[in-house]
């Protein structure tokens, strides 16, 4: 069904930032792309060698590690995807963020942690170093190297960092990549690599602690990067950088607390079921405060994004691309899913796919409106026409028109008339 859909409008004219155009990691004329790619390729080779060494050391443990971690990655990806409701980020940029965390940040951190560990040992002595190196060197090194990748993405695709929630999505994926590769290292190198050791590692690092950690730390840093980029022209540079720094430091503080030998309620060794049950409690003591902080920030960012979407689309209601009923559905994620289910039930899965695409393009209509210099900007008009053609295609499917969101108040189709009042 979707094969007969009208083609999307060209994106030329939508770009606002000089550094980039929309939608992809592969911007070959951007220096940030080449630095990003060079680091990922070089560290990727080293990373593959390390994985081969783990596989040779314990083939079954290595395979089990990746199998178990897939169980962790999939729900986190789903969660991040749910957060990214209003404007889907380009897949190549999302993959780039994940890859940076998994390959570049982990490999570079391994070298850097060794060097900064020497500094802690030489300044504080071996006794101090054995207790505090993990808290003093690793958080600074790892958080800096992870956020460096997000900054590179922001340089080469600034127009994809529309709000702080976008930054959280990129940062969280970067942190997820880091966490997964680090977990494999721990399962094999610290927990022994046997199937029993891997399962123990999975219990400690994923089941007990998976809600906290790198996803949160880098998610916060990513929000800071997005704040700097997306508020350009709205707030002075000093304030934007200050807030970004505060968010970075919040993530850093969470990481320091996690690694520090304070509030440490983890059992020294696990002799029975009670010790095993103590582990998630001990992890919660260290991790829950930061998780709560991030949840609050993400909710605030989500509300802000919803308000932005509503205000950006209000002036489009009644034009060719959007009806009042469609806007109401668009602003409520549950209503969106319900509408797709109803259309799917009445007119088949093809119709549901068309509706999904219409909803996505109506969100893109908001983006186009935000970038347009006038209500009749050619790119904006093209996007309206595209949405209309999708709606027409949807209504042409038997049974779909009755189930799709109602038309709502509309004005005669025009490209030069006054903006209709908000519903």
């Amino acid at each position: 069904m979707s094969a007969s859909l009208p083609p999307p409008p060209p994106f030329s004219g939508l770009a606002r930032h000089r550094w980039a155009t929309r939608g992809t990691l592969f911007r070959f004329r951007s220096p940030a792309f080449w630095l990003f790619a060079a680091i990922v390729v070089v560290t990727g080779v080293l990373s593959i060698e390390q994985q081969q060494a783990f596989r040779d050391l314990s083939p079954s443990g290595w395979a089990l590690s990746w199998g178990l971690l897939a169980l962790y990655v999939l729900p986190v990806l789903l969660l991040v995807s749910v957060l990214d409701l209003y404007e889907r980020e380009p897949l190549s940029l999302l993959a780039g963020a994940f890859l940076w965390g998994a390959v570049a940040a982990t490999t570079l951190s391994a070298y850097a942690n060794e060097g900064w560990g020497l500094v802690v040992a030489r300044v504080g002595g071996p006794g101090f170093a054995s207790r505090w190196t993990a808290a003093l060197s690793a958080p600074i090194v790892e958080e800096t190297l992870k956020v460096a990748g997000i900054v590179l993405l922001a340089i080469l695709a600034a127009d994809e960092f529309d709000d702080v929630l976008d930054g959280f999505v990129y940062g969280a994926l970067c942190g997820l990549g880091f966490a997964v590769v680090e977990d494999v290292f721990y399962f094999i190198g610290v927990f022994g690599g046997t199937p029993g050791g891997v399962l123990a590692g999975f219990w400690v690092r994923v089941v007990s602690s998976g809600l906290y950690g790198h996803v949160l730390y880098t998610g916060l840093s990513g929000m800071g990067v997005a704040y700097v980029v997306s508020r350009r022209g709205q707030e002075p540079l000093g304030r934007r950088v200050g807030i970004a720094l505060a968010l970075f430091l919040a993530g850093l503080a969470g990481h320091v607390l996690w690694n520090a030998p304070i509030l440490d309620l983890f059992p020294g060794k696990t002799d029975g079921i009670l010790d095993l049950l103590r582990i998630p409690l001990a992890a919660a003591v260290k991790g829950l405060p930061l998780l709560a902080f991030v949840v609050v920030l993400v909710r605030l960012a989500h509300r802000r994004e919803r308000r932005w979407l509503e205000s950006a689309l209000r002036s489009e209601v009644g034009r060719r691309g959007l009806t009042a009923a469609e806007l109401g559905v668009l602003l409520d994620p549950r209503a969106r899913r319900r509408a797709r289910r109803e259309v799917g039930a009445r007119a088949g899965p093809g119709a549901a796919r068309v509706l999904r695409r219409l909803q996505r393009e109506q969100v893109n209509l908001a983006m186009a409106g935000a970038r347009a210099t006038s209500p009749e900007d050619p790119a904006l008009v093209r996007q309206r026409d595209y949405c209309k053609s999708l709606r027409d295609a949807l209504h042409a499917i038997p049974g779909a028109a009755a189930a799709a969101p109602g038309p709502g108040p509309r004005v005669p189709e025009t490209t030069s008339g006054p903006t209709p009042p908000a519903p």
Partner: protein, 187 residues
Amino acid sequence: MEARADVPSTGRALLATAVVGGAIAAVVLGGYAIGGALMGAAGPPIDVAGVVRVQPLSGWELAARFAEPPRARLTRGSGNLDVVAVPFAGPAAELARQYVRAVLEPEARQLSVSREVERVTLESGLPGVRIAYVGLFGKAQAPIEGEVTAFVSPSGVGAVFDAWGPEGVLRYVLDDVRTMIERAVIG
């Protein structure tokens, strides 16, 4: 996959990329640079039996001397380096094994020694061997881990460097210890 799009690079993009690249390099290499700068020599060289000389690095000091066999103990916090000098004719690997049998085993309640023997070389070019161990010594409840490095000079001087510390601590002094051993003068 999304449509690929090329855009002209700008001076600002180049500058921003260079700053990020510089920050990455500083984080990755900075620790080694600062750690190296902190690794200065401290105090006069420690002489053992007039045939082995070790220059302590910053933070290390002479803690004790023992007579039979001639031995000096350098410490830094809970990290230690015992330097032993004995007359010896034979390969360095045999000297290391004899040290384990004669010194470590009698003092240990429990001892595991690595099967792998690592080849090492002094700055002067003298070859030697290194083995690792972990065990319970004396009345201490916590395991001690260490590594024994042995050399035999052409003039028949055997030198044993025994770096040891509580489990988990040794790794934080190993870089210092290995540097002091590499720079040691034997014979």
